[in-house]
């Protein structure tokens, strides 16, 4: 039987079409056309994240992301979000270690409005002492939510602070509590002038739009905005770790746990595909090694090996993190030793063809599934562009996974998952009284 082409999986082409435009003021526009649904994802990425901060002003990138919603000469606080939401839009933003990104997923007929408002807040952001202080309180509440009162939040902060001694990945994106309290409106305005201009930004428009029409619209609203040129950033390289580092974090908890991080690579390094597949062999799915060895028999509530997959991997060398939450009654030191023994077996005995094939198929399936969403397609393109300068790598993801061999997995396990390259932070439960005696959490 002949199927209609649209319902024939073999006829489907996964290639993402990318149409680039470069404006004289330094702005890059990448259009990712797709006419399946009358929706576009507009993404405005500024190439600045917590990596560009300095001790004393940690958290400013994320705080500033909040301030971008606090109004302009034309709009009141949060009116930006309200107007676009009223058009059916999903409006939000996120800050990472490497970039700050704003997005509007909305009916394609409202793309122009979204572009106009993005340009408005890029040029005419209006901040005063009062809305600065209010928003800083919001961020302090967010920090308490995500880090301080979160079961493993402060443990994870301790892990990165211990593993990185010189590189800015040592501090959390949300920033240290005392830095947030110290930051001033003046700091934020200086930050705005340095990093928020066309020379430091990329716009992605994915979905129901013709490339030339998108170019004309972007040109209309952003083409005349001046740019002082790309800010210069010092390149910081974390020195190789020369010996295991360990720390203990005591807090009120029902469970014992540990986080262990190994320095690996950034997105630009070819080993990122082997390392992602290695993590998948170890802990993705219920047939994975660590699930079968530790989770299924109930020794842990959770045990995973995680490295953000391309293109979510950090720009500079990241940590591959093992996160182990022990089941009540499990002996934590024993659990940790058994985990490292299991890794040693992998390094000496290798992985089976079936394990690797399973991991590849899962990652392929996840990629295909994600391509249904314009938002996801746009992010894939945008993040490769921001972190490697080459958006077309998005069309090579499946090939890169496909080329990884069993030998590659053993090689990267031996090269990166070494004791000398490891940092371990253990969560040690204490009573509320002991916790109070240790001083306030912040």
């Amino acid at each position: 039987m002949t199927l209609p082409a649209t319902l024939e999986p073999a006829a489907w082409n996964p290639t993402i079409c990318i149409v680039p435009f470069y404006f004289d003021n330094g702005l890059t526009l990448l259009v990712v056309p797709d006419q399946s649904v009358p929706v576009v994802s507009l993404q405005v990425h500024y190439q600045v994240g917590s990596r560009n901060e300095l001790p004393g002003i940690t958290g400013i990138s994320h705080l500033f992301e909040h301030l971008m919603f606090r109004g302009t000469e034309e709009l009141g606080p949060e009116e930006f979000a309200r107007i676009l939401q009223a058009k059916g839009g999903e409006i939000n933003a996120f800050t990472t270690r490497d970039h700050t990104s704003y997005f509007e997923n909305l009916p394609s007929e409202h793309l122009e409005l979204a572009l106009r408002l993005e340009a408005d807040r890029l040029v005419h952001l209006k901040l005063d002492e009062e809305n600065f202080r209010t928003e800083r309180d919001v961020v302090l509440s967010e920090r308490k939510l995500r880090s301080v009162d979160n079961p493993l939040g402060l443990v994870e902060e301790q892990l990165f602070a211990t593993a990185y001694t010189q590189h800015p990945y040592s501090w959390p994106i949300v920033g240290w509590d005392q830095d947030l309290r110290r930051l001033t409106l003046k700091d934020c305005l200086a930050y705005y002038r340095t990093y928020y201009h066309p020379g430091n930004m990329t716009i992605i428009i994915a979905g129901d739009v013709a490339p030339e029409a998108a170019r004309d619209l972007v040109g209309r609203y952003f083409g005349d905005i001046p740019s002082p040129g790309r800010p210069a950033f010092p390149k910081v390289i974390e020195p190789p770790q020369r010996g295991e580092r360990r720390a203990v974090f005591k807090k009120v908890s029902q469970v014992e746990a540990f986080l262990a991080g190994f320095h690996v690579v950034g997105l630009d390094h070819p080993d990122v595909y082997s390392l992602t597949l290695l993590s998948a062999v170890l802990s993705l799915g219920k047939a994975s090694r660590l699930y079968q060895e530790f989770v299924r028999p109930g020794r842990v509530a959770e045990l995973e090996a995680y490295l953000a997959p391309p293109p979510w991997t950090a720009q500079d060398p990241d940590l591959l993190v093992f996160r182990a939450i022990a089941a009540p009654g499990t002996d934590l030191p024993r659990l940790e030793k058994d985990l490292w023994d299991s890794l040693e077996r992998l390094k000496t005995e290798g992985v089976s063809e079936m394990e690797l094939a399973r991991a590849k198929k899962i990652l392929k399936a996840q990629t295909v599934q994600g391509l249904a969403k314009n938002f996801f397609r746009g992010l894939l393109v945008g993040l490769f562009h921001l972190k490697t300068g080459d958006a077309q790598r998005v069309n090579d993801i499946l090939n890169c996974y496909g080329a990884v061999t069993r030998e590659d997995l053993v090689r990267v396990a031996r090269e990166y998952l070494r004791e000398d390259n490891r940092t371990v932070v253990t969560l040690q439960p204490v009573s509320p009284e002991e916790s109070q005696a240790l001083g306030p959490l912040a």
Partner: protein, 437 residues
């Protein structure tokens, strides 16, 4: 371009099993869901989690395959097998690449129709659930939501967590799961939802081949539709967690069932009150004006029987009483004065404009199709959805708010450090201290 609302096809098998499908062209994906229209509300009073543990048990081995074999066979296709009970229904779903459709459908049929219930898996499941529970109770947000539900509904069917309560670890036995399966997994209350890059005739053929000989068990429990007889008294309840820096706050009262005629006006009124993010009054007041929280939302949980209306937020502990007061004021304002014409128009425009995004992926379409079957909304529900939103008048939204919001009867649970918030809360009225929930 304009939106094409997916066409839904329906096939009824002689056993009573219903097939609902959508041909989906966007990516070569297929989403298969077996929905049994009985869920955690059928858990016996002292056996919370029976439905959900049963669902997971189906994935722990069939008469032909062990847990490991099944996991390997599913994951070697890159597919995801998930099983869980919610209130009102249990979902066994298998999502994967469309090229694997015949194998995926065979596996799903095998999992649902011929579970092995291997006894050696039971102690392992119990240990996993014990570990998971300990971990969850460390998370103040999870703890607060679970505690509110338990406090508010007591022993009524929506009062326990779907995944079970601490007591379940001692009371649930394998026999409870096999009994649940034998009783509730009946073709008469089951729908298969198939959304994917697979033509209708091929889906129909496979479904008939694999499912028409399965009547399942039964008779299933009568559908739970009544409101509970007793609920927690309104007032402030405080659960002291001295180690926390923020208070988790849950406030609510009884809501409405899904079939209530005020569903659309109330959804719109609640979007304006607290579901609409930065467009909501609660967010505008508590976050944008006062900076007291990072997030706040209100939600009516529309189920077969009346579910809870619940407001959730958190704030640095010293603000707790002020936040409770402010929230009550915002709810009272919406209840007394209704919403404005502009707010309503913007809310309607949001729901209509956002609708196409809910049709982007096979999974989100499957979710909507399953829901319209579960709550008998009619096969034309998606096609008429935007119209129903647009026909809500300002009077209807105002009346819905006036009738169904009860600011004077809120049950308020605070999970936080009593030393920093108790005395201010006492100024609002009596505070009931909870030592365990």
């Amino acid at each position: 371009m304009t939106l094409r609302v997916p066409e839904i096809y329906q096939v009824l098998l002689p056993t009573g099993l219903e097939l609902l499908g959508v041909e989906y062209e966007r990516v070569p994906w297929v989403s298969l869901t077996c929905m049994v229209k009985r869920g955690a509300e059928t858990d016996p009073p002292d056996k919370a989690g029976a439905a959900d543990w049963t669902a997971e048990y189906l994935t722990l081995g069939t008469v032909r395959r062990s847990q490991r074999q099944l996991a390997e066979d599913v994951e070697s296709l890159g597919a995801q097998l998930q099983a869980r009970a919610e209130y009102d229904a249990t979902y066994i779903s298998l999502d994967g690449l469309a090229e694997d459709f015949p194998v995926l459908m065979e596996i799903l049929a095998e999992v649902v129709q011929t579970p092995g219930f291997p006894p050696e898996e039971f102690p392992l499941l119990k240990d996993r659930r014990r570990a998971e529970l300990a971990q969850m109770l460390d998370d103040p947000r999870e703890l607060a939501t679970r505690s509110f539900r338990r406090l508010f509904f007591g022993g009524a069917p929506y009062g326990h967590a779907t995944r079970g309560e601490p007591e379940s670890l001692e009371t649930l036995a394998l026999a409870d799961l096999t009994a649940h399966y034998a009783r509730e997994f009946s073709a008469k209350v089951t729908s298969l939802v198939v959304v994917g890059m697979v033509p209708q005739d091929r889906v129909e053929k496979e479904v008939r081949r694999l499912w028409q000989g399965w009547p399942g068990g039964g008779p299933a429990s009568p559908a739970y539709t009544a409101a509970p007889e007793r609920l927690a008294a309104p007032g402030v309840y405080l659960f002291d967690r001295p180690e926390l820096t923020q208070s988790e706050i849950r406030m609510g009262h009884l809501g409405l069932p899904r079939h209530h005629p005020d569903y659309f006006p109330l959804r719109l009124a609640n979007y304006i009150l607290g579901e609409g993010g930065f467009s909501s009054r609660l967010m505008a007041r508590i976050r944008s004006d006062l900076g007291f929280t990072y997030g706040i939302r209100s939600r009516f949980h529309f189920r077969r029987a009346p579910g809870p209306f619940m407001i959730s937020t958190f704030t640095p502990a010293e603000n707790t009483a002020r936040v409770v007061e402010e929230i009550t004021g915002v709810v009272r304002d919406v209840q007394e004065k209704g919403v404005t014409a502009q707010e309503l128009a913007e809310a309607q425009s949001y729901f209509v404009g956002h609708f196409p995004q809910s049709l982007e992926t096979a999974r989100t379409i499957a979710h909507q199709v399953a829901n319209l079957s579960l709550y008998d909304l009619g096969l034309d529900y998606l096609a008429k959805y935007c119209e129903r939103i647009q026909e809500v008048t300002l009077e209807a939204a105002g009346l819905a708010a006036r009738t169904h919001l009860h600011p004077e009867a809120l049950s308020i649970l605070v999970v936080g450090p009593a030393a920093k918030c108790k005395s201010a809360l006492e100024n609002l009225g009596g505070v009931t201290l909870l030592t365990r929930i």
